[in-house]
Amino acid sequence: MPINDRVTEVEGIEPTEFQKFGLSKKKLLQMLETLVRIRRFEDKVEELHIVRGLLIGAAHLYLGEEAIATGVVSDLEPEDVILSSHRGHGHAIAKGIPTDLIMAELFGKATGVCKGLGGSMHVGIYMKKGGLYASAIVGSQIPIAVGAGLALKYKKQDNIVVCFFGDGAVNTGAFHEALNMASVLKAPVVFVCENNQYAISMKASRSVGARSIAERAAFAYDMPTFVADGNNVLAVYKATLKAVENAREKKEPAFIECRTYRMKGHSVHDMLKYRSPEEAEAWKKRDPIIMFRSKLLSAGIATKNEIMAIEKEIDGEIERAVDFAMKSPTLPFEELEKYVYAGGGKT
């Protein structure tokens, strides 16, 4: 049901419609694989931080939000580019950036996606896979995404830009300036708001002075806007199809609000005293991976054995990633100077 003519609530996809939406068994299992890969990667990162003490620094886990990156990226061409946020491990994995390179980046190693110079909040930067940028400053990637979109349009390429950010970002000045700019200059960008309901401890319901984030985008910046259940990978996929079509065909921006829940704290050491265990429990029942797995099983798309084989393979991949990261060298300090100026400080 459309809330109004600008905001469309997008439902999931039933098995009878899988074919219509281009969802082959292969594609659906790829989605499951990505979901599981993100989940197992993030579980491992949490363990490496809290249990084993092998990682320090920031780690903003994507647990509970896996369906968003997975659903969105499933609609993209490999040459489409994404911009990511501080909570970006999931975006990077969904875009196909190898988990061993991401893990090595978390360990600060020279073999990491950014040679260990970026760290956890920049693992989405890997141009070989269309990872254009990742900002550790909330909201700041949004204007950069508009510039990337305008560049693609200027170069008359059919590719588009997807920009991920959280509910906290929609209250930054950068968000407002960027959405307005995208609207007036017609940038082919799909803005994906991952509304996990919390900006550290600040609840979106207490911080967004609009009826909803979707309505803010639709009414203030006049762009086609879609709302999807962020825990339903197929709803996200369906919403993204429409938004991507708008960006690719009309060369104009579109907006998606995915409503989800951050299963864990803001970062790995968050005590979560600002929200109730009951709330978290209720959302746990809507675990995006369990829901999707049940759907595949009940629709007869995959068997338990097939799913277990995928999970086992990924567990092995993550173990190998940790091993690779731990055995990798760190960049020699003397080499850092080389990475300050591309032209060596000269022109």
């Binding site: 950014c114 920049h122 141009m127 700041s140 204007p143 995404a145 510039g147 950068a174 960027a178 400080g345």
Partner: protein, 324 residues
Amino acid sequence: MRELTYAEALREALREEMLKDPAVFLIGEDIGLYGGINKVTFGLLEEFGPERVIDTPISETAIAGVGIGAALMGLRPVAEIMYVDFLPLCSEQILNHMAKAYFMSGGQLRLPLTIRTQYSLGRAYGPQHSQFIPSWFMNIPGILLALPSTPYDAKGLLKSAIRAEDPTVFIECRDLYFKIKGPVPEEEYTIPFGKADIKRVGTDVTVIAISRIVHEALAAANELEKKKISVEVVDPRTLNPLDKKTIIDSVKKTGHAVVASDDTKTGGVCAEILSVINEKGFSHLDAPIKRVAAPDMPVPSSRELEKLYVPNKDDIIKAITDIL
């Protein structure tokens, strides 16, 4: 040789680079229909069209961000921020993204973006339209910083900035746009960053000056010549990279140094250049180094008071005679 104004020289640089490379485009407030508030981009909309000369809303963060995003995708944007005073509105983009993308991506990302802006000291525009804060950007590794003082330098440096593989903050000076005319060759040339220019050769004292105050230093040198004092004026032209060698070589020759800049004294450009001389040329100094800078207060709006505020030729003469 033909003479151009500082503004004309800048416009010629933009136009030539746009003709040469389709990746170059301009973005900013009132740069198209209006022609730029200082007419630097005058006529370029008509010549290159709205796809390459983009008028924007008043959104400095988005202007810088769009420049960064387009540069990451292989274009060479030239973004205009109307006044230096408005740079803080987009300084988050400059500090965290423009200056760090290359480093924090492990060398994957290139950012050939030029941000042009200008300071408007000396025009009775008041505390929020007259500031000069180059040291803010000198303190950020990862960006180039250019401040031309003549039409020749303006054109050559802007062309280099646009072609550079690194991002540049390019600070022009409103007072120079139309007042200063100078020789600019018709044939193609560029000026490398990190290469100071000795604007006047002398033997008794070195004045290191940037942007507008170079002209005050030259006027001071002319006047002191009558008193048989020979002043060498060194214009670094770019503060990042800074041509330390030319500065030190000059100080070795003269044994005396005065550093002059229009920014406020504390923590300013002069302090950094003074430190460089102290570290690398102390043993060659015959006297302490003097600074000529603006007083540590906001710029007053009153025409009369601003005149007293702006560092000038007489301040430079006094500093020189104090140490000789």
